[in-house]
Each structure stands twice: as structure tokens, then as C-alpha cells.
Symmetry: C2
Subunit: 429 residues, 2 copies
């Protein structure tokens, strides 16, 4: 099978992560794409950002517009950014020259999405942009395909990790806005000029793309009512908490009887909403559809790893023209895997014992655990009941299931243990 | 464009909801499918479940196996259920006769998934099953396509709404297991024979499908270690809470150095995990990928609406062979929508005022709000500071933005109001 040949315009954080992911996961990518995916050429303003080894065998050009004209390229991946200028030229020329375009450029699509979609159709090529909204969260595919049977009622999104980080820090550490922003900048979450993020424009760009997919309309940036974070004080976040709410910068799109409402701004979100619990740099989107009800996707909305995950999914989609295989790869490529005994997996454990309330029980149990080299993390006992029976709860540090099972069997045989112990794994992510 | 002609085998809750959704959303379905989707024939054990009007113009056959042989059918939607017997025959015959198959049948796929995938490929037809796992949550598409660039490390899922409901009630209402189960049965969440759900087998079926997609292996039900809920007591859920955990019935699949670990059982889940907050009948899946990091999808995992949402998405996928259009429908079908003024949208509001701490301020503010017909929901004032300035927080009942804006302008002009008021929408889902 001839490979899918791609060119990457822009080797910043996302571009170099994409290059790395295509190389490191070349095996699964080829299996799922049905053919090898090779990076043929790249352009970079700052070549230093890439590991030399990642660029081996790849043509490096200075002007990204050259990539759109290369004969031996099937797909141009545009990771330059910006609504106008070079990024726009690269995408337009690539489509005109019969290349598919994968882009992470929300500003470009929010501004020229309709014209670019028309250009793609006219040339019989695809324009896809999973990475333009919410980084690694596959919300574009979900809106375009996963919920295709629904009439969407509303979308609410936490679409900017920088803002969500600032709000989280203003709440948890009671920082004022400027200090939280400074912290975000120091951590590399916010840019030197943070206005695109904190004034809500980045969220607005993403919102228009989701609204277009949800409501079958063209991206309409000019109609979004946009507000940002600058006026918030830490006390607002504390008061919100007293009201059982969190403050989040939301992008909201909703089809009303009067038309399409699109707005961006800080809102109080009741704790009952899944969005209230999305903290730090995480993103989340809540969609309400007439059939599906309420659906929430959450994950990392920015950074090289998550964004390259979205870019590579788009590339594989192009290769497959929609991956129709039941289990993602051809059946003959499905390989049996050895069965890992769950018993071998170490984890912390929870043990509940129903015991006779008399001295020495805990000592007996502790001795059994010690003999199996199981270390106790906490032990608690619930107040004496009217009977002489009490519950004793023990949590342990990480240990394999085999040792736990042996210990439980011994514990169950103690005279003072009145019923079969209940023991559960503590499942950390 | 000739229509995509489908047959639905089984008109229970999901089948009749699918019929209804295809009819009610025929416009968006046709736009996204690129052609009309028509239901040509159905089979039903119990015809009474369907509205007569929904069956108009549709052939009704008694034996679902007949559907697989019809000449004027492109797709068979199998909604009968069960790992063997009629459901299996229908799917096999449909593929052999050159029809695509859409199914919600996790038991069938967990048991015979590899053979059916091979049969589909041999006949050049597709076998898709979004509805088989987690109802309306598009987790199959996400695993198969959205995360296709990732090596998945682990999957943790709350995949059975009945169990999650029982656990939620055991925790919140301190019910014992039998009472919670009885309540679930009374509400129609659990079947008369609930063992498939509460003993973990339903979760195991779904887990094997996710594991197959994640790890490129065949569904391997026999290797899943399965446990259920019967031994849990309400006190376990209370103790878990004291340990900052919830108890959830998890399906977990993880690639270890020894091979593939697949297990189902009740676990303590730390509150920091997104899964700890998934209550009632909701489902959720947390995926860890090497590029994407941690991704969580949550929503309704059962019921006619959500499950038919998944079935219809699969049907549209078949029609499109992967929907490659940038905004889901052709660009010429993107229609401008009227712009709804966000200002017109009523909601509750949060107002923070920085005021001089002297009598009469609250009366002045209240009068302004009353004049604009804004009803106060709560008012709170934070303890006097060393200066004479205090914060007053007001929340209001639902009111439009225009009235709020007028009120805020008047309030800002009060002598006792020291700085520009901060006012935010309260965003309910």
C-alpha cells in the first residue's frame, strides 16, 4: 500500500509533537490508517525546536507556502496559526493544488471557515480540524458524526485552559487576577500578551466552530458576544462557592426561538453541573441533544501531546476516508494478547470486617497483615453498637491481590471475625 | 440521491425510539447522511410498543430473519439482543447477503465479535456498534477514530447504569442492596432478573469491546475477571466517603507487561477522579492515551433516546462512509441563522457590590431592582472590614439582560456604591 505523504507547516509545540507522535506510534498509526503515514516535508521558523533525529529523511523548506505546491504530498498539516497571512495562504493553496488540509487553526476557520469549506468541496478535498477545538478532546468528530442523529439544543464549553487555570487559582489560592495570570505565564500556560485568552476571543473562535457543526450554520464570529476575566476578583469566586457554584469562563451557543445565541463570558456554574468540576488547564464541553440528552467530554485542551493526538486522528481519518472497520483495524490484524492476571496487579485495598468488640482483635488482624507484608494505611472503627459487634475498616498501601487473598482467608478464620470480610480494590487513575 | 434503505429487527424500547428519531429528525439526518434514510421493513415481537403512525408505509414481518434476505434493503439494524439464537442468525445472514449491519448487541459482539468482523470484511460490508457500549456516549467512535493516533494505556468505565443507580442510592439514601435494587426495578432501571447487570456480566461484555478497540485485540470475554455488587453494604459506601472515595462498579482494561488485564468489580474511586462524580444512571468512560493524556466522556448510557442517538449516528456513518465534510453537511447547505441577542436570554444573575457600610444601602438597591421587576433570590453581606467598605452579594431569579443592565446602571450611580458593580450570569444547564 503506498504511504499517505504529509507535509507539516510549522514546527512549534504542536508541530514537533505531531512529528514525534507519527514516528513513535508509526505501528498503530499504519494499522489504523490502512497504510504507512510518512512525513515528507516540513517548514519551520525555528528549527531548534525539533530534535534533529526527528527530521531525518525529511525535507526542510523555509517558506511554508512551498509545501502547498509540492507534487509528492497528499496532505498539508497547517500548524502556523493566525486568521490571515501565511496560514491562510497555505491552506488555500493546498486545497487549490489538490491536497487535503488538516489544521489546528481556530482563528482562520472562525473567520474564513465557509470560504475554505467551499474551496475544499470544489476541489474534492477534505478540510478537517479536530485540533482546532479543545485539544485532545474529540469534540469536532463527536459533533460532526457521533451526534449526527441529534438536533442539538445547546453547547456549553470550557474551551480555554489558560482562563480555567487562572480561575482555579483565584478560587483555590485566593490569588487576585494579576497574580494568577502571572503564575499562568510563569508556567507557560499563558502567553506574554495574554489578551486572546483572557478577553475571551480564543474561546469565541472555538465556539463558532462548534456552533457551526451543531446547528448547520457557517462560523459566524462577528455575532458572538464576548467578555473576559479582567474584572473578576477572588472574592467573587468565594461568594460563588457559598452559592454552591463555581465561576467558569464559558462559551455558550444555543438555538433560541429568535435565532442563534453565541456568547463568551464568566458565569456562575452550579456544582451540580459536570462543568463545575473541571479545574486547572482542563477543557470540557457539555452538549445537549434531543435524543442523547446531556453529554460531557473532558480532557486536556492544549499542549503538544493532546493537540497532536487530534492532528494524527485527522490524518488517519483522511487515510481511511472514515475508518469503517469494526475494531479499527482489519480482523486479520487483531492479535490475541496474553491475559494478565488481575491478581498480579498491585493497588491499595479497602477491608471491612465485622468483629466482636473485644480487646486483641486489631492485634490479631494486624499480625496477619504484617506476616503477608501488607502495610496498613489507615484503620477506623465505628462506634460500639448495642450488640457486641463493630465494623473495622482498614485501608492498605499497594500490594498484590495474592497476598491480600491469603491474608483475608486467615482473617476470616479468626474467632472474633463474625462474617466473611468484604475487601475492595482502591482504584486510582 | 437514492435513499439508504434500512430494516430494523426488534421494536422494543430502542427499536421504536430509533424509528421515531429517524422520522422526527429526518431533515438533519438526510443532510448529514447526504441522502434520505428510509425505514423499509421492521420485525417486532410485540407490535403494541410502536405508535401506529410510526409504522405507516413500513413492511412488518414476523420473523426477523426474513429482513436479512430482503432485496430492497441496504442496512439491517439488529436490536433483538442475546449472544446466540435469532440475533446472531440475523447479523450473519445480513452480512452474507451483502447488507451492512448496525447493532446494539454487546453480548453477541463480546462472544462472536471476531467471527462477525471477519464475515463483514469477507463480504465487503460494515459492522458497526456504537449503541452496544454506553448508550448515547460516542465512545466506540472515540476509541476507533478519535484516539486512533494514541497507544491506549488503560480504560476505566462506569458502563452499567443500573449498578450505578443502586450504588448512588445505597450511598445517598443509605439503602441496603436489596432495597436499592427493588427501587431500580420499580423505576424500570433493572430487569426482573437483574443478574446480568448486578453481577457484572453486562459491564464485562462492554469492556471487552472497548478493550478490543483500544488494544487491537479480539473481544475476549472468557478472560475477564468478573465480580458484582451483592456483597456490598451501605456502610461500605459511608466508609468509602470517609476515605474521600466513592464506590463504583468499574470495568477496567489495562495493558500490563504481562498482557491484557480485564476486570469488572466494585472499587473505591478517589474523589479526585472524574469517575467519582458520575451518579445515578449515568455512564462514563475514562481513557488514558499516551498522547491525549486522560480523556473522560460521560452521559446517559441506556434508554431509548440515547441509544437511538448512537444507532442513528452509525446509520449516517454508513451513508457517508465517514462524513468528511468540514462542517458535517455540504457548504451550500450551511444556512445563515438569525442572531439571537444574548441580552434577550433570561437567567438568574449574581451581583457583587462594593458599598459604604451604612444604613439604607440595601433598601436603595432593593428599590432599584423592584422597579425593574427583578426578584431577589438571596442577599449576603460579608463581615465588616476595617474600612467602612463591605461586599454585598445579591442573586436574582430569572430576568432578561436588558432589565439587569438598566438596574446595574442605576445602582452604580448610588453614592454608597464605591466601584463599578460586578455582575455575572448564573448558567444552569
Amino acid at each position: 500500500m503506498p504511504p499517505l505523504r504529509i507535509a507539516i507547516a510549522g514546527l512549534g509545540t504542536v508541530g514537533s509533537a505531531t512529528l514525534r507522535l507519527l514516528k513513535e506510534n508509526a505501528d498503530v498509526v499504519a494499522a489504523r490508517a490502512g497504510k504507512p503515514v510518512t512525513v515528507t516535508a516540513v517548514s519551520a521558523k525555528d528549527k531548534a525546536k525539533c530534535r534533529k533525529s526527528d527530521l531525518e529523511g525529511i525535507r526542510l523548506v523555509d517558506d511554508p507556502r512551498e509545501l502547498a505546491a509540492l507534487k509528492d504530498i497528499d496532505v498539508v498539516v497547517e500548524l502556523i496559526g493566525g486568521a490571515e497571512g501565511i496560514a491562510r495562504e497555505v491552506c488555500e493553496k493546498a486545497l487549490q493544488n489538490g491536497k487535503h488540509v488538516v489544521t489546528a487553526n481556530k482563528a482562520l476557520l472562525a473567520t474564513h471557515g465557509l470560504a475554505l469549506a467551499q474551496l475544499a468541496e470544489k476541489n474534492g478535498k477534505r478540510l478537517i480540524f479536530e485540533a482546532a477545538v479543545a485539544g485532545g478532546i474529540p469534540i469536532v468528530k463527536t459533533m460532526r458524526e457521533g451526534l449526527a442523529g441529534n438536533k442539538v439544543r445547546a453547547i456549553q464549553g470550557i474551551l480555554n485552559g489558560t482562563c480555567n487555570y487562572i480561575l482555579t487559582r483565584m478560587f483555590e489560592a485566593k490569588l487576585d487576577f494579576s497574580s494568577a495570570l502571572k503564575e499562568a505565564q510563569d508556567k507557560g500556560y499563558a502567553e506574554a500578551d495574554p489578551s486572546m485568552d483572557i478577553d475571551g476571543f480564543d474561546t469565541a473562535h472555538k465556539l463558532t466552530l462548534l456552533a457551526a457543526l451543531a446547528f448547520g450554520t457557517m462560523p459566524d464570529l462577528a455575532s458572538v458576544s464576548v467578555g473576559g476575566l479582567r474584572r473578576l476578583m477572588p472574592i467573587d469566586l468565594q461568594f460563588a462557592a457559598e452559592l454552591d457554584c463555581r465561576i467558569k469562563l464559558l462559551g455558550v451557543a444555543r438555538l433560541t426561538e429568535q435565532g442563534l445565541e453565541q456568547r463568551v463570558g464568566p458565569c456562575l456554574v452550579p456544582l451540580a453541573s459536570p462543568l463545575a468540576k473541571i479545574d486547572d488547564v482542563l477543557n470540557a464541553v457539555l452538549v445537549q441533544g434531543d435524543a442523547v440528552g446531556e453529554l460531557t467530554l473532558s480532557g486536556r485542551g492544549a499542549g503538544g501531546g493532546p493537540t497532536s493526538s487530534a492532528v494524527v486522528a485527522d490524518i488517519i481519518d483522511l487515510a481511511r476516508a472514515g475508518n469503517g472497520l469494526p475494531f479499527g483495524v482489519p480482523a486479520e490484524q487483531l492479535r490475541p494478547l496474553p491475559v494478565a492476571p488481575a491478581e498480579a496487579r498491585v493497588s491499595g485495598w479497602y477491608i471491612r470486617l465485622q468483629v466482636t468488640d473485644k480487646p486483641g482483635v486489631v492485634a490479631d488482624v494486624s499480625a496477619i497483615l504484617r506476616d503477608e507484608k501488607i502495610s496498613i494505611e489507615s484503620m477506623l472503627q465505628h462506634g460500639r453498637s448495642r450488640t457486641d459487634s463493630v465494623s473495622v475498616i482498614i485501608t492498605t498501601h499497594a500490594i498484590g491481590e495474592a497476598a491480600m487473598r491469603r491474608a483475608i482467608q486467615k482473617i476470616a478464620k479468626l474467632d472474633s471475625v463474625q462474617e466473611e470480610p468484604c475487601w475492595l480494590r482502591i482504584e486510582n487513575t
